[in-house]
């Protein structure tokens, strides 16, 4: 059974009951079939009602749902001829950042993503999606590669943030992130960044300084985690829910603030309830975004990208 989030408890109970009835069901048991239909309908309504008004904190939990499709799921489904490239040519290969060459709708592209992993083993391999300097330096290398060969860059961002560790600091975590942002800003190619889960601060924007920034409906993008913000400003990590609300980190809030371009609707109950549909929706949105940049040359793209970021926050709509 899939892990349920705390606020999904009533739905989980209904789905549990439905499952029980299904197990009991004998061929021809009409009453049971009716009951199942009734409960399914009820569960569906409950799910619709719950997900129609998720709080910011609930969205944070959905964004971090262990069954939510992660970057590699998108790369595997949306990109053909995927050819991973590795290493920063200086120190190491960092599996927290995945990427390489591939074809998107037949067109050669460079792809990059922060990968959290789907089970214990892969989470350890990908360091839970928290990259080290070598990861951001690899990203920079691939961004520059894309620029040199005039290939669009597609990124899929899902990270709690850059890895906070002794070695990461010793190797220049801050500089590595700064250079990755810089590489995005200097790239003479279209960049489409999609926040598919968690957009955690500097570790996220390192791969999200794009011409178009898309966000899945229940993903979050924030300067600090709700927990981190709560422990600093409220001196109590338990206030994370209040902090999440205050930070305005949901896709819809960020669109209203004009910090992102597009919100991609998710299947009912979140991307994890219908992974193929979620991935298809992202694919379609990326295709549309990419098409909107067709025919623009490198200098135009760079100039527009700069203008777009320079305009951010200057005028805040109410």
């Amino acid at each position: 059974m899939r892990p349920f989030l705390e606020f999904e408890k009533p739905i989980a109970e209904l789905e549990g009951k439905i499952e029980e009835l299904r197990q009991m069901q004998e061929p021809g048991g009409i009453n049971i079939a009716e009951e199942i239909a009734r409960l399914t309908d009820k569960a569906d309504k409950q799910l619709r009602a719950t997900y129609a008004r998720l709080t910011a904190w609930q969205k944070a939990q959905v964004a971090r749902h262990p069954d939510r499709p992660h970057a590699l799921a998108y790369l595997q489904a949306l990109v053909t001829d995927y050819t991973p490239l590795a290493g920063d040519r200086a120190y190491a290969e960092d599996a927290a950042i995945v990427g390489g060459l591939g074809r998107f709708g037949g067109r050669p592209v460079v792809v990059l993503g922060t990968e959290k992993g789907d089970d214990t083993d892969s989470r350890v391999i990908h360091n839970f999606g928290m990259a080290k300097p070598e990861g951001y330096r690899k990203a920079r290398r691939l961004i520059e590669l894309a620029g040199r060969f005039n290939l669009p860059l597609l990124t899929f961002v899902d990270t709690a943030g850059a890895f906070p560790g002794i070695e990461a600091e010793a190797r220049g975590q801050a500089e590595a992130i700064a250079r990755s942002v810089e590489a995005c800003l200097d790239a003479p190619i279209p960049i489409i960044a999609t926040i598919i889960g968690e957009g955690g601060s500097g570790g996220a924007i390192a791969l999200a300084t794009g011409d178009r920034v898309l966000m899945l409906e229940h993903s979050i993008y924030s300067v600090i985690s709700p927990e981190g913000c709560a422990s600093i400003l409220w001196r109590d990590a338990a206030q994370a829910s209040t902090a999440a609300e205050a930070l305005r980190l949901t896709a819809e809030d960020l669109r209203l603030l004009r910090l992102i371009d597009t919100v991609i609707p998710e299947p009912l109950g979140g991307a994890h309830r219908d992974v193929p549909a979620a991935i298809a929706a992202v694919g379609e949105a990326v295709r549309t975004a990419l098409a909107s940049l067709d025919g623009m040359d490198g200098p135009t793209l760079i100039a527009r990208r700069r203008d777009k970021f320079l305009a951010m926050g200057r005028e805040i709509p109410v």
Binding site: A162, R179, G202, V223, L247
Partner: protein
Amino acid sequence: MSWLTEIVRPKIRSWLGQETRDVPENLWRQCPACQQMIFHKDLDANLKVCPNCGHHMRPTAMERLAWTFDGGVFTRIELPKAPADPIKFRDQKRYADRLREAREKTGLEDAIVVAHGLVGGQPMVVAAMAFEFMAGSMGAAVGEGIVAAARLAVLQDAALVIFTASGGARMQEGAVSLMQMPRTTIATRMVKEAKLPYLTVLTDPTTGGVSASFAMLGDVQIAEPGALIGFAGARVIEQTVRETLPEGFQRAEYLHQHGIIDMVVKRGDMRETLGRVVGMLRGVRVEPAEQAA
């Protein structure tokens, strides 16, 4: 002064009790590193560097400008207004109130001041971050300040020097503060594209989103002795890796050893260093005889 501070001061302190430090209008300040009491005039004359242990105390942004420009002469520019409180943030206090208090306390609009003038004989635009203003945190106003400083440098054909002092992004501005990372990076690109030198002086502390953007993109990167510089906070790292942090971790000297900054320069040598480096980067020739003299 040593006999006075080392011998006489402790006695006076014991007569007057613990509060002495603050009572006679802050005539004496205690060095946070060696605990030495220092007479305020001596401290100011020494650019707020402890005469006893060499600890570099945190100055205000205005002090920084006065120390940096030749003869303390500079022209401050007015910075473009940024939207205050873009996400109507409130924690236990409203961000709008915090801002007002910080403005009253510091007399500054936000956590950055920008000025132009001569430094070591070279025309420069200097941006100094104000740690005294909400821990130097970077929101839209700081971003605007950096962009304005870069534009001014290009306009005046001057080098850009930024003194960083910041706890990181200003979380009360949510993702608007995060977007200052690309925005300030664009500013550094403008200066570099104009083939003008861009120097950063990392001062205590420089962390988070500020370190991970314009602070680390200098053509030449300088730090003050002992300055705390890094991306992640020490406490977060300790909690993540469950290890004790090494001696001197994230300090200027540690970054120098790890190849992240070019040099550690004492405050008293800063103006001369900036002028020399910028002069050479801009191709200023000095006759050998002139140099020998």
